[in-house]
C-alpha cells in the first residue's frame, strides 16, 4: 500500500484519502506518493547539507525511518520535530515576544552573506514526487547548477535554517490548496498585519489572528504549526515576481482597539503629518515645511479674548438690588418741607418771649428810668484798682490802648470805654491805638470821636495815633511786646510816629506808661496777659483790662493772683457804671434799669416756661405709660 504524504504536514496518509487526515490538506491535487522505491536514496543535495548541518549546528537531527519519512526533507522533519518537542515539552503558552520573533523569522528571509553559497533545496525528491504526481519537473536554476556535488556543498557553512529561504522549488508546490483551514487564514492575516508594520512587538499573535491561545496549549495530531502556515504565506509573497500591491492597513475591531495597551501606543513614535503644514516663506528657514516660522506674526500679540463679566443673579437678588437702588435714589431726592401754619403755638410763644423781653427794655430806655441804684465801686472787683491806675498816669505820657472787642459788644463795653477815654483825654494822655481784630481801628476811631463830640471842652482831640491792626495773633503780640517799632512802624495815616514825641522815647512796650486792653474775648485777654504781661511787670507798667461780663470769670484770676498780672479791670455793664460813678461821669441813661428788667424778665420766662412744660408734659407721659 502506497501512502500519500501530505504536502503540508508531511505525514503519510492512506492513498484512498482525498485529504490529509492530520491537517485536512487536499492530497489528490497536490499530494504525492511516497517514493518507496527510492528508500535509502538521499538527495544528493541534502546529504552534504545534513552532514554539514550536523557538524556545524547540530540542529538537524538525522533519523532513519520509513522511505516516506526519508522522502521528507530533513529540514522539514527537523523543524517539525522541534515544533512537536516544543509543544510537548512546553505546554505553557509561548510568550508574545517569542511568537513575534518566530513570525519575524518566517516572514523575513535570512540574510545570507555574499560569500555563502546558498544550497539548493529544490532537491530531487521533490522533483520526483512532482513527476509522480504528473507535474513537470522543475528546472534547476543557476544556483543549483553552481552547487554541483556534495563536495562543493560541504564547503558551505550554513547557519540559518533552510526553511527561512524561499526557493523556486517552493514556488512549484501547489500554491492554491483546495481550502485553507481557519488557523492558516488567521496566520495569514496576522502576517499581513505584521508586514504592514502596525503591530507592535508586544501584541499577541493570538489576538491578531482571532485564535484562542488555549487552542495552542492542546497539541493536536492534525494541527499544523505556525511556521508552516507562515511558510505558505511566504510562498505567495516574496517569490512572486509581479509587483506587490500596497499593503493595506489592518482594521482592528473596536473592542480590540479598546483593549490595546497604552504601552503599545506609547512605544510608537508620533508621526506628524507635514503635508498640510505651511511652508516658511521668509526668514532663514525659508522653504521648510512644518517648522516654526521666525516671522513676527508668530509672536504677534493678539487681542485678548473678552469674557463676559455679567453676573448671574437670581430674581430675588435682582429684586433686592432694585430695592437698594430705589432707596439710594430716594435719599438723594430733596424732600419738600411740609408747610407749617404761621400761627402755631411755638411761634406764638416765641413772639410772647420777644415781646416780654423787648418791651420792658425799650420802655426803660425811653423813660430814662433810674429806679435801680447803680452798683457801688467797691462791690465790683477791679474797678477801684483800675481807677487808681488811670488816675496815677502823668499828663502827656504815652498809653497803649488795644481795641480788641467786637462791635456787637459795644453796647456793654462802650460805657466803660467811653468813660476811660474821657478820663484819658482829660489828662491829655497820648493814646496809641492798636488792635488784633480787623474792625478795631474803625471801632477805636468811632468811639474816640464820639467821646470828643460829647465833651465840648475836649473839642477835636487829636493827641493820639492809630497804629492799626496787628497781624499774627499771638506772634504779633509777642513781637509788639519785644519791638513795637518793628511790628507797627507806621500809623494808619502813614506817618512814622516813632520818630516824633512822645513815641520817640519808646523802644519796647514797657516804655508805655500803661497798657489797656479792651476785649470781650477771654482768649484775646489771655494772649495779652501771657505775651505782654511778663515784659511789663519788669518795669512796673500796669496792664489794665476792660472786658465783658462773659470774659470776667476767666480774667479775674489774673487780677486776684499775687503778684497779679492784671493791675486793674472793669468788667461788664456793672463795672462800667461803677467806674463812671467813681470818676463822676455817669452816663446811665436808663441802661441799668433796662439791664435789670431784662435779667428779671428772662429769669421769669425760663422759670414759668419750665413749670408750664412740666405740667403739660406729665399728663402726656401718663397717657403714654398707660397705653
Amino acid at each position: 500500500m502506497t501512502d500519500i504524504l501530505c504536502p503540508l504536514c508531511g505525514k503519510p496518509n492512506p492513498s484512498e484519502l482525498d485529504e490529509c487526515m492530520y491537517c485536512h490538506a487536499p492530497l489528490k491535487a497536490s499530494g504525492f506518493l511516497a517514493p518507496s522505491d527510492q528508500e535509502g536514496d538521499e538527495s544528493p543535495f541534502l546529504t552534504p547539507l545534513d552532514t554539514s548541518a550536523e557538524a556545524e549546528t547540530s540542529t538537524v537531527k538525522s533519523e532513519p525511518g520509513s522511505p516516506l519519512e526519508r522522502a521528507i526533507p530533513d529540514w522539514l522533519k527537523n523543524t517539525e520535530e522541534k515544533f512537536l518537542e516544543g509543544v510537548e515539552s512546553k505546554p505553557e503558552q509561548p510568550t508574545s515576544e517569542e511568537i513575534s520573533a518566530q513570525i519575524e523569522s518566517l516572514l523575513n528571509p535570512p540574510v545570507i552573506p555574499e560569500n555563502v553559497v546558498e544550497p539548493a533545496n529544490d532537491d530531487d525528491w521533490l522533483a520526483s514526487l512532482l513527476a509522480e504526481a504528473g507535474g513537470e519537473p522543475l528546472s534547476l536554476g543557476p544556483e543549483e547548477e553552481q552547487l554541483g556535488g556534495p563536495a562543493e556543498a560541504s564547503d558551505v557553512s550554513i547557519t540559518e535554517p533552510f526553511i527561512e529561504k524561499p526557493s523556486d522549488e517552493e514556488d512549484a508546490l501547489p500554491t492554491q490548496p483546495a481550502e485553507k483551514p481557519d488557523w492558516l487564514t488567521g496566520l495569514e492575516a496576522a502576517s499581513m498585519i505584521k508586514l504592514s508594520g502596525e503591530i507592535t512587538p508586544g501584541e499577541s499573535i493570538y489576538a491578531e489572528a482571532n485564535v484562542e491561545p488555549e487552542a495552542e496549549e492542546i497539541p493536536s495530531p492534525i494541527e499544523i504549526p505556525d511556521w508552516i502556515g507562515q511558510a505558505d504565506v511566504m510562498e505567495s509573497s516574496p517569490s512572486q515576481k509581479e509587483p506587490e500591491p500596497p499593503i493595506a492597513a489592518a482594521e482592528l475591531p473596536g473592542w480590540l482597539e479598546a483593549l490595546r495597551p497604552e504601552e503599545a501606543t506609547a512605544a510608537t513614535e508620533p508621526v506628524e503629518d507635514l503635508s498640510a503644514a505651511d511652508i516658511v516663506a521668509t526668514g532663514p528657514l525659508v522653504g521648510l515645511r512644518g517648522v516654526i516660522s521666525a516671522r513676527p506674526s508668530a509672536i504677534k500679540a493678539r487681542k485678548p479674548p473678552t469674557y463676559s463679566i455679567k453676573l448671574r443673579v437670581t430674581d430675588e437678588q435682582h429684586a433686592r438690588v432694585e430695592m437698594m437702588e430705589a432707596l439710594l435714589a430716594d435719599e438723594q431726592k430733596p424732600k419738600p418741607i411740609p408747610s407749617q401754619p404761621i400761627l402755631t403755638s411755638r411761634n406764638i410763644f416765641r413772639l410772647v418771649v420777644a415781646a416780654v423781653l423787648i418791651l420792658p427794655i425799650v420802655w426803660m430806655i425811653i423813660t430814662n428810668s433810674q429806679r435801680i441804684p447803680t452798683p457801688q465801686p467797691g462791690s465790683v472787683p477791679g474797678v477801684v484798682d483800675f481807677t487808681e491806675q488811670i488816675q496815677s498816669l502823668q499828663e502827656g505820657v504815652p498809653v497803649l490802648m488795644a481795641f480788641d472787642y467786637e462791635p456787637g459788644f459795644s453796647g456793654e463795653m462802650n460805657l466803660a470805654v467811653s468813660t476811660l477815654i474821657n478820663q484819658l483825654m482829660l489828662k491829655n494822655v497820648y493814646m496809641t491805638l492798636v488792635t488784633t481784630t480787623p474792625s478795631g481801628p474803625a471801632l477805636a476811631e468811632s468811639i474816640i470821636k464820639s467821646v470828643a463830640t460829647m465833651e465840648d471842652e475836649l473839642g477835636s482831640y487829636s493827641y493820639y495815633t492809630d497804629l492799626g491792626y496787628i497781624p499774627g495773633g499771638t506772634l504779633g503780640l509777642l513781637g509788639l511786646a519785644n519791638s513795637p517799632q518793628a511790628v507797627l512802624p507806621y500809623s494808619l495815616d502813614g506817618i512814622n510816629v516813632w520818630a516824633t514825641a512822645p513815641m520817640n522815647s519808646i523802644s519796647i512796650i514797657n516804655d508805655f506808661s500803661a497798657v489797656i486792653v479792651m476785649t470781650n474775648d477771654p482768649d484775646i485777654a489771655r494772649s495779652w496777659i501771657e505775651q505782654v504781661s511778663p515784659v511789663l511787670n519788669d518795669d512796673g507798667t500796669p496792664l489794665l483790662i476792660v472786658t465783658s461780663s462773659q470774659a470776667e470769670p476767666l480774667i479775674r484770676p489774673y487780677y486776684e493772683a499775687n503778684p497779679s498780672q492784671v493791675k486793674g479791670m472793669v468788667a461788664g455793664l456793672a463795672g462800667g457804671l461803677a467806674y463812671g460813678r467813681i470818676v463822676g461821669n455817669i452816663q446811665q441813661n436808663g441802661v441799668w434799669d433796662a439791664y435789670s428788667i431784662g435779667i428779671t424778665a428772662s429769669s421769669l420766662i425760663i422759670l414759668v416756661g419750665s413749670i408750664i412744660g412740666v405740667v403739660l408734659k406729665m399728663p402726656a407721659s401718663d397717657k403714654k405709660k398707660e397705653s
Binding site: R350, A442, S446, S483, W592, S596
Partner: protein, 207 residues
C-alpha cells in the same frame, strides 16, 4: 527735588522753632534772632489774611455764577466787599465814609445778632425742661437762673445778696475750674505739638 524740599523744609522749621524757643530762655543771646523770625512770621500772617479774603471772593464769585437761591447772597457779599474796599481805599480806614459804613451797617448788624441770640436762648431755656425732662436739665436751669438773678439787682426787688454771692461762687469756682481744666489740656497739647514739630515728627508744612 521732591526729596530735597521736604528735608529742607523740616530743617528750616526745626531751626526756626528752636531759635524762637531759645529766645525765651536766653533773651540776650537769641533775642534779636527771635525778633527777626517773629517779624517774618507776622508778615506771612498778614499775607495769609489777604489770601483768605481773596479766596473768599473767588468762592462766592463761583457761587454767584450758579443759578440757585444762595447765589443772591454771594452776590450781595461780593458787592459789599468791593464797595467797602473801594470806599476804605479812597477814604482811609478811619475816614468819615469808612466810619459811616462801620457805624451804620456793621455795628447794628452785630448787635442785632446778639439781641436775637438773647431771645433765642431764653426761649430755648423755657422749653428745655419740656423737651428733655431729666435731672441734668433741672440742674442746668437752676444754675442759669441763679447766675442771671445774681448778675444784677432784680426789678422792684433790688439786690439779693445770697444770689449775688452764689453767683460769684459759681462763676469763680466751678466755671473757672472747668475752663482752666480745658485750658490746661489745650496747653499740654500745644506743648506736645510744638515738640513734635521741633523734632520733625509732625510736618504741617508738608513733606
Amino acid at each position: 527735588m521732591k526729596k530735597i524740599l521736604p528735608t529742607s523744609n523740616a530743617i528750616i522749621a526745626v531751626i526756626s522753632g528752636s531759635l524762637v524757643l531759645l529766645g525765651y530762655f536766653f533773651p540776650g543771646v537769641f533775642g534779636n534772632i527771635q525778633s527777626i523770625l517773629i517779624g517774618w512770621a507776622i508778615i506771612l500772617a498778614a499775607f495769609a489774611l489777604f489770601l483768605g479774603i481773596f479766596n473768599l471772593a473767588i468762592v462766592h464769585w463761583k457761587k454767584a455764577k450758579t443759578t440757585g437761591p444762595s447765589s443772591i447772597y454771594s452776590l450781595v457779599l461780593l458787592i459789599s466787599l468791593f464797595l467797602t474796599i473801594i470806599i476804605v481805599s479812597l477814604s482811609g480806614p478811619t475816614g468819615s465814609f469808612s466810619l459811616w459804613i462801620f457805624n451804620t451797617f456793621q455795628v447794628p448788624v452785630e448787635i442785632s445778632l446778639l439781641a436775637v441770640l438773647a431771645v433765642v436762648l431764653v426761649f430755648s431755656g423755657a422749653r428745655l425742661l419740656t423737651r428733655r425732662p431729666k435731672w441734668q436739665t433741672v440742674l442746668f436751669l437752676v444754675i442759669v437762673l441763679v447766675v442771671l438773678l445774681g448778675s444784677a439787682p432784680l426789678f422792684l426787688l433790688g439786690e439779693v445778696a445770697p444770689l449775688i454771692a452764689l453767683r460769684g461762687w459759681l462763676a469763680q469756682v466751678p466755671a473757672v475750674a472747668g475752663a482752666r481744666g480745658l485750658l490746661l489740656g489745650v496747653a499740654l497739647g500745644t506743648v506736645a505739638t510744638g515738640l513734635r514739630i521741633l523734632i520733625g515728627v509732625d510736618r504741617p508744612y508738608g513733606g
